[in-house]
Subunit: 489 residues, 2 copies
Amino acid sequence: MPASQLRSLNIDNINPHIKEAKYAVRGELAVKSEEFRAQLQKGEGKDLPFDSVISANIGNPQQLDQKPITFFRQVASILENPGLLDSEEMLEKHCGYKSDVFERARQLLKDVKSVGAYSQSQGAPGIRQSVANFIERRDGYPADAATIFLSAGASSGVNTLMNVICATPQTGVLVPIPQYPLYTATLSVLNAKCVPYYLNEESNWSTDVSGMRSALEKAKAEGIDVRAVVVINPGNPTGGSLAPEGINEVLELAAEEKLVCIADEVYQTNVFQGEFHSFKKGLRDLQKSRKNKEGKFDNVELASLHSISKGMVGECGHRGGYYEMIGFDPEVTAQIYKFVSIMLCPPVIGQCLLETMVNPPTSSQPSYPLYRAEYDGIAQGLKDRANALYTTFSKMEGVSCQSPQGSMYLFPTITLPPKAVEAAQEAGKSADEYYCLRLLEATGVCIVPGSGFGQREGTLHFRTTFLAPGTEWVGRIEEFHKGFMAEFR
Amino acid sequence: MPASQLRSLNIDNINPHIKEAKYAVRGELAVKSEEFRAQLQKGEGKDLPFDSVISANIGNPQQLDQKPITFFRQVASILENPGLLDSEEMLEKHCGYKSDVFERARQLLKDVKSVGAYSQSQGAPGIRQSVANFIERRDGYPADAATIFLSAGASSGVNTLMNVICATPQTGVLVPIPQYPLYTATLSVLNAKCVPYYLNEESNWSTDVSGMRSALEKAKAEGIDVRAVVVINPGNPTGGSLAPEGINEVLELAAEEKLVCIADEVYQTNVFQGEFHSFKKGLRDLQKSRKNKEGKFDNVELASLHSISKGMVGECGHRGGYYEMIGFDPEVTAQIYKFVSIMLCPPVIGQCLLETMVNPPTSSQPSYPLYRAEYDGIAQGLKDRANALYTTFSKMEGVSCQSPQGSMYLFPTITLPPKAVEAAQEAGKSADEYYCLRLLEATGVCIVPGSGFGQREGTLHFRTTFLAPGTEWVGRIEEFHKGFMAEFR
């Protein structure tokens, strides 16, 4: 008898919905790139045609060039060792701590008692209030701490919302294509239906509500009970950033079709062109406007997600985030509370870092000048690298790229010669996977094929972050691309 | 039209499996106790018959008396602010940091680069190796870092394992009764079957394999495909601690019936009588023994879970833990890797605290004396409080309690007068819920009714932690109990 049959679990009898789930961001290519990195670290990679691995596959700022914001981490160091509060003077004199660092640490410790203690499952009350204050300042509309749930990164919030929404195998959720694969993977695991709608590449990856409506009608005709619509703004992997009109159109659709609107706004501070418009503000504006006939928008359910992982903060390893639940039935919110309580609470130090993110030093406070300089420096660096990468892509044969608007990614279209497509088929890969694999093997640069996010039939893309420092690696892509095109011309 | 019908989600159309899930540890009583606490904090609770709330409902050491271990937190403070490495001398002189603190911080930073960066989804490689070394020292058998998954507390590990195991609504998992409700709640959410087996209260809550076998046969006869067996050792809520024979019996059952054995060993250092025996050592011993006829034990699949939340560490707010996967099919392990990668990675600072837990200062290192003193002090305090509580319970009318063996809980039987049971029925509560609610309202002491964990039909229990400092609150329980018994006699 083969060994697999001697065991309880094998690939054919485990949860089939987990088998179906796809998550390319950390898939085969990422695993292979880690193997290369390990080889190089051990000094074993002498045969490799590159001397470093560039992880442009995942938005992991601090694994690359980005430094943490000093104020946040000084506060965190005291939260981890409150004994340091006895040495204020010395830390100020020798380690650059300012008085507002100690004040903040004291205030947070009062709220959580210890970062080693469980908080309320929804998150510490004082931190939730601070998040509410931030939303209020951002949007000019009140926010209620009771409707804010802290989470282990935005991913965990999405997981919770999807768990509650997905009632049957016929439950559907409208998901943009291309999308961050968290959404399709979670829907697979929950055995629910992804109802794809395509973004408009030609107009900077904007939402196309008529396309959303036809996707919805088609799904309904197939008996799918569509209950929610996901919007990622600014976009991942696209980098697109929505104008207020685009947001209003989605909210109108949500109101008319009674869909929960899930606004993934984790890149809200990563905006290079124009400014960020939140779905919450959009909804409150509509509720006040003439468009709100017969209270059309009064009961729209909106979940808006944010995170400490992205932006100029980049604290993804700390797993902090929140979601605000607007317009939900209190009985539903109570079920969400119960659901999150099974996992006890989000990481408390991540909650505290969230508090520093939403409530940073203000201009009159001693930590402000350094905070401002660090924040602006990171923002400028991201913008510069985005533009440099965009310029390079614009020059490459068969590559066409929308100008960078937001988030941490570019998602160019690539047009490959027919012979390359054939070679991919022979290798049992899709053409974009084949391209990215060859790039990794030739240059050590790891990017993600467009098929990992979804793309229109017959088109090919890849996603790259612009977090990696320097421009040398961009040159590696350019050179590889030339050779690849020549090989298959 | 009622507002609920204007929304997408209401209590009748969300995921029914979430509605079904029960999680009493943070349920109605816990919520009510937090309301009392908030009232008292605001100075509004003058009408309440108590002046403080005692949270004996949940194992949350640092919310109560327990201080974090200094070495762990000194290391964590540097990980949060590596700039402190530039002030070694000063921190040594003024803040009690020793040289091994800096060494450890440097070593961990080398492994993770920044605690703000994502790690591998399975956890940082160096930390997994450190966990493997710990297991090897503990059991005297090798452990492989490749089979160790770091997790956000043990709860997240259990969630992952259950997600993979639960393939259909007919999949069943043997779960001890009483149990920590994470298991039943997770099985409810996953729409799988809990197959309960009862622990032997009269012999210190030991496992009864004949009872397990009959539960299994009954389930099979009902068409349930039982695929795993959960053992919590030391027990939660029971406090029982298994002898090697008990462990062997469970492993024999697992081998004969091809069940995955899920060993929840998060209380492995909370043992007051005898010593802890791991399932891993039990399995390896059996594999070497004469009992391993025809390789009977060679393919047993064992997942052993541990955590930084309990023990003398008590860092539950940091959400750190691990599970070792022994004997699993590599294709299954690969699916687990993909599943955890959807949530990116466990909190990295929690991973680092796990490393300090499994690799604490050794006797030759400068941080050792304080570490030893703190660790032993916490252990002794827990033991003393467990015994004090046990002595009090032993004196109370209608209360019978097994002597404390392990974990952080006592789970006494209470026998209530028929009139009390009637009063509970009138209030729409089970008798144990009613008792715990009345206790909370009268004394501010929050404990959890036995029905939250499961108990034999016709018996009543409650679970209390023995983490709360002092003995005054124990007196409150004693006095309330007298009055309650007198009221309903």
